[in-house]
């Protein structure tokens, strides 16, 4: 049986209502900046793709904001950790 994290002192994240992230209804950057990000990523997008992706980018930006905006304690490590026993497998 595996042990769980329960009781290890990790605080539950504060509860936010799900609609909070929907308040970000426009991309946090304009189309020109978005195109620059795409170019930096090495993507070759058509103008239509640039517009479409920019139109939905704000949803992803809102999710990124949601995972960041918590004032998380420095000791909360990522859930994926380096395991030296398995590192070479």
């Amino acid at each position: 049986m595996r042990t769980t994290n329960a009781g290890k002192g990790l605080a539950s994240p504060p509860r936010l209502e799900c609609n909070e992230e929907r308040q970000l209804t426009e991309a946090p950057i304009n189309l020109g900046a978005f195109k620059a990000l795409a170019r930096r990523a090495g993507l070759t997008l058509t103008p239509a793709e640039e517009r479409d992706l920019h139109g939905t980018y704000h949803y992803v930006a809102a999710m990124a904001e949601r995972v960041r905006g918590r004032g998380r304690a420095p000791g909360v490590e990522p859930a994926v950790v380096f395991d030296p026993d398995k590192a070479a497998q």
Binding site: M1, R2, T4, N5, A6, G7, K8, L10, A11, S12, P13, R15, L16, E17, C18, N19, E20, E21, F34, L37, A38, A41, G42, L43, T44, L45, E49, D52, L53, T56, Y57, Y59, V60, A61, A62, M63, A64, R66, V67, R68, R70, R72, V76, E77, P78, A79, V80, D83, K86, Q89
Partner: protein, 463 residues
Amino acid sequence: MTPPLTIAQAAALIAARKLSPVELVQSCLARIEKLDDTLHAFIRLTPARALAEAKAAEAQIMTSGPRGPLHGIPIAHKDIFCTKGIPTTAHSKILIDHVPAEDAIVVRRLVEAGTVMLGKLATHEFATVGPSFDLPWPPARNPWNPAHFTGGSSSGTGAAVAAGLVLGGTGSDTGGSIRLPASLCGVAGFKPTYGLCPRTGILPLAYSLDHVGPLAWTVEDCAIMLQPMVGPDAGDSASANVQAPDFRASLGGSIKGMRIGFVRHFHELDCSVNDATRRALEDAVSVFRDLGAEVIDVTLPPLADWTACGEIIVLAESYALHEKWMKSRLQDYGQCFRDYVTMGAFLSAGDYVEAQRMRRELCAAFDDTMLKVDVLLCATTRAEAPPIETQTNVNWFELPCLTGAFNVRGAPALAVCAGFTAAGLPLGMQLVGRPFEDATVLRAGHQYEKATPWRNKRPALSV
């Protein structure tokens, strides 16, 4: 053509020598011939191999009896499961010429258990999002009404099992890809605990969220299929070194006294479901109480938290996997895949690390809740299967996902049929357990199935 059978029924008939594996395979092939031009569940059939394997199984069974309950049972694999010498394309132009040199570990284990492989099943491209109409093969259709969506990404497996084209099949689940098609196609689908089934030889989507599991008509059949799939493998760094119980033997116990946490806020506050789904969930609560379980409302972090955490991880990990091809062959992907995975290019390393840190907090909250209950009950989808043409321009990020939370936790999660709409489309629900308590989840699902009539009804076109 015999009526569709469950794996348990077919295994009993084969063991009693009342059913030949060859006849069973021929019956499935006849049903495929009749229905798959409509359903598009298969993207590749392997009838010659299937008949050869069935004949070999028949000869072995006549000589020494069946190896186990999967000996001679026809199944098929989602086309991200590598199959030696048989193309494995992920339903994508990108890998249209990809012929693996080896079987995936779980494919090999299912072969060793005696299964007969009928072919490779449709998937959303690289197990992501769909349906897509711009790929080399069309998307699968729902056997309960072929004008409707199957759910995905294990879309072909859901359709094939529901229509009786196969008795079971494999799926993968990174955010719901076993449970969503299981729910919309009215079958059972089980996402085991992360690491229980090795993913070696299965095309990845997101390393830290990918799970592998079975879909079949019943929970009992899922338990039968799961058994040989489980076990450590050195090729998968997440593979768990645990001793698996006898899943089928674990199904029979009573659930009297089992504590079931009803995650009501998922479908009432965080992501509203339609009336039929809400009623099905409330009815399920009554069924479990009648079976002697104690059902209480419980609270988890909101779906938006789980969804944000899961989506950032999926996008970052899948973009990293596909970055080379996305830079050089972007137009060889379908539009759904491009629209979805491209978003990973706009995330930072900090976004990914923060998502993995948030994941630890969410896991702790889940585990705190699971101190009070043995199993969770919650919705799988917002409604029954929608018409497929309404799914062509979906914004994948607009609504929270009801299934992804349990990929983030890596917890075992089972989708079962929970009834039907007035129009005859299936409704689904999820049962979820603590990591490595897969048998408890399967037992709850099996007892629910036995107490309800839903397994007695098959899609009209399959009978």
